[in-house]
């Protein structure tokens, strides 16, 4: 039991891990690979394009159309004074069988001299690759030290990728550990987009070249690259999401990455897809899967097994550890042998046989479809009070009932039938079971749903009186159709079962049939502007204006009567200025009412007000002094008088 328990834990953990692992959402189909080949097969314009084409096609396992001509092209276009030119020619010639680029001693020295700290990584890469392709010796340790010092100066993705690629050409005795660490550092710079893509911000080409270089170096030193399985799949998604390429160099990088991912010692991503729709039926009982690597080559050595297949609705398991058989590069399984009921099934497929396989657990949804047959179609007209016995008519698909059925408002029309799977005899409940009544004369159509009871027997009842509103109470002959459909049915049914004559009470029928006008222009809505308020007539307004102003006249009259005068008006400057300022303030009030806003008014009021205040202050002070003097003189005179009076006594 302990070992059983351990086994269960192991299986459970594997299933859990399998459930979380990523599977590629983007991959190259066979047509995409063909397109890639076509892009790379374009005729060469210069040495660089020749390099891309020849080496790219070689990576895809295809050779150039005319190898001799290609070789001649390389030999005639190579420029011994340019390291890049030598690189293209040498690498391309390596891919063509029997093509040699003759190289002089000076050229060799020139290439060796390029390996130094003063050259760029690109130059070091080109010369090291050329020397390696031509079979010439080179000093690996010198290369390593030159690269290490250049990496600190050139810290961009392209340069470090080239450094990795260079190291893959060096002797295994050299100390490549420093350069090997760069793989991990560079992988950390990849951007994770939504958990699906992993790519450099520099783009597709940089990502593809990185993958190529990382696996080239890892294979060379036989150490697994520090990339997790999910990261590898995300890289696959990024590199193979683009199916048409902007430039020859981009196509070349994708071809290199595809070759690297399908043939390295550590990680081989598996692409599993169903051939056509993942549907099986009695006519097509085989579930066919394409199990390939990223280059669409079938993995014929792998074993493909259905770990479990269970129904989506009932969750009952149908299959457990059933193998697929390989035929012509396609993996097949006869699912109908297990006699599944129609519906959807969740498959968990595992691809094993090679420890390098990545994303080799796949979830797949498979549809089992079937054909339906209608049996026991019984039509009858039933009296509501059930006084007259029912007369049922059996109709067989696809014929139509000979007589039409008549139902008026006292009767119900009833229909019952069964839907059965033609192969297994099991009752089916498809998604769509509709009863359609179509009045051929008026074009009306009313659709009802037929529902199954607990024993999966479909029943439909039309209560003429109750449903009269749907028919607009229009009597006449209606053709009755049965519509059966479902995603898992291969033969949807539209069957004119019978004609039904419906009689409604004539008073309720409308005179003419109104076709439902849903899509005609609606009546225009006129916008009602806000009505201005009603104003009183001008006469009234004018009268009241005069009335309100009249007390002012009264005031003037009273003041004159009381003897108000301006005889005491002093013409001192402060007095005049005060009156001028005050008048200006009153004028400002009027202007405020007609033109200004509060802020402007406050501004002017501040100026005028302070001016008026100063003038007024002086004026009132002068008045106060005058009053005080007057009072004091009066007081003095009065006291003098009193004194004299007293003396006079």
């Amino acid at each position: 039991t302990a070992s059983n328990f351990q086994f269960v834990i192991l299986v459970a953990s594997r299933l859990v891990l399998g459930a979380h692992a990523l599977t590629p959402s983007h991959h190259l189909a066979a047509s995409d690979v063909a397109r890639l080949e076509a892009v790379l097969s374009q005729s060469f314009t210069d040495l660089q394009s020749a390099y891309y084409s020849i080496v790219g096609l070689n990576k895809l396992g295809v050779s150039v159309a005319d190898t001799d001509e290609a070789c001649r092209f390389l030999q005639s276009n190579v420029d011994p004074t340019s390291i890049a030119s030598l690189f293209y020619a040498a690498e391309a010639s390596q891919s063509l069988s029997g093509c040699e680029i003759p190289v002089s001693n000076e050229t060799r020295d020139f290439l060796l001299a390029a390996v130094s700290e003063d050259s760029t990584i690109s130059q070091i890469h080109n010369s090291v690759s050329t020397l390696s392709s031509l079979g010439l010796p080179l000093a690996s340790q010198e290369v390593v030290s030159a690269l290490t010092s250049r990496i600190t100066k050139e810290d961009n993705v392209y340069a470090i990728t080239l450094a990795l690629q260079t190291a893959a050409h060096l002797s295994q005795q050299a100390d490549l550990s420093g350069i090997l660490e760069e793989i991990e550092d560079l992988a950390a710079r990849l951007d994770d987009l939504g958990g699906v893509y992993l790519q450099f911000e520099e783009g597709l080409e940089a990502t593809a070249l990185f993958v190529t270089a990382a696996y080239a170096l890892s294979d060379h030193v036989d150490m697994e690259p520090p990339l997790k399985e999910d990261q590898v799949i995300q890289l696959v998604n990024s590199i193979f999401s683009k199916k048409s390429w902007d430039s020859l160099s981009e196509a070349f990088s994708v071809a290199c990455a595809a070759a690297a991912l399908s043939n390295n010692r550590f990680h081989v991503p598996v692409i599993v897809s169903a051939l056509g729709p993942a549907t099986v039926s009695h006519r097509q009982p085989l579930l066919q899967l394409q199990v390939t690597n990223v280059l669409c080559d079938p993995l014929t050595s792998a074993s493909v097994v259905v770990e479990s297949a269970s129904s989506v609705t009932t969750k009952s398991a149908i299959l457990n550890q059933s193998p697929f058989s390989l035929r012509d590069g396609i993996f097949e399984l006869n699912f109908m042998n297990s006699q599944p009921a129609s519906g959807y099934y969740q498959f968990a497929v595992a691809v094993t046989g090679d420890s390098r396989l990545v994303a080799n657990h796949i979830e797949l949804k498979v549809k089992v479809s079937t054909e339906v047959v209608i049996s026991n179609m019984d039509l009858s007209v039933v009296d509501k009070d059930q006084s007259i016995g029912t007369k049922t008519t059996r109709v067989d698909y696809p014929s139509k009932a000979k007589n039409s059925f008549v139902a008026d408002s006292h009767q119900n029309f009833a229909m019952s039938f069964q839907l059965v799977d033609v192969n297994t005899g099991v009752e089916l409940t498809p998604h769509q079971t509709f009863v359609r009544l179509h009045n051929q004369k008026t074009g009306q159509e009313v659709v009802f749903v037929a529902e199954p009871d607990s024993k999966n027997l479909y029943k439909f009842e039309l209560d003429t009186a109750e449903r009269k509103s749907e028919f607009d109470s229009i009597s006449g002959t209606y053709a009755l159709y049965l519509i059966v459909g479902d995603a898992t049915l291969e033969n949807p049914i539209l069957w004119n079962v019978a004609d039904v004559v419906l009689k409604f009470l004539d008073e309720e029928a409308p005179a003419t049939v109104q076709t439902k006008t849903l899509y005609v222009p609606k009546p225009e809505i006129k916008h009602l502007f806000r009505e201005p308020e009603k104003r009183p007539p001008t006469v009234v307004s004018n009268t009241f204006t005069a009335l309100v102003l009249s007390p002012f006249l009264l005031l003037l009259i009273l003041w004159i009567k009381l003897g108000a005068n301006i005889s005491n008006f002093s013409f001192s400057p402060s007095c005049i200025l005060f009156h001028v300022g005050h008048a200006a303030m009153l004028g400002l009030m009027y202007v405020y009412w007609t033109h200004l806003n509060m802020f402007q008014t406050l501004k002017y009021l501040a100026i005028l007000g302070s001016f008026t205040f100063l003038a007024g202050n002086r004026m009132l002070a002068q008045k106060a002094v005058k009053r005080y003097l007057r009072l004091s003189t009066e007081f003095q005179r009065a006291s003098l008088k009193a004194l004299l009076h007293k003396d006079g006594e």
Binding site: K534, V548, S550, P551, F552, L562, W593
Partner: protein
Amino acid sequence: MAASLFSVISRFLEEYTNTTPNKLKLVDAYLLYILLTGAFQFLYCLLVGTFPFNSFLSGFISCVGSFILAVCLRIQINPHNKGDFLTVSPERAFADFLFANTVLHLVVVNFIG
């Protein structure tokens, strides 16, 4: 009853005309003017309607405010009340009256619309 009321009123008017100084009578005339103006505005509002309600309000408030300020002025310049307003000279009262009226009419003109 009417006779006694009549005699009270005539007595009051007599005393008023004789004892009140001229300055105060001027202010009283002004008060009467303000009162009548306010009353006529209110009458219009009752009879015709409140259509530009903001205008009515500002006009009416102007009358009420001016009345109150004039009453304050009258109290402060009345020689009888000199004892209550030792720090406030008649000139100071008049200056206050002018300032307060300015502020009031600024708000009134703002609201009159």
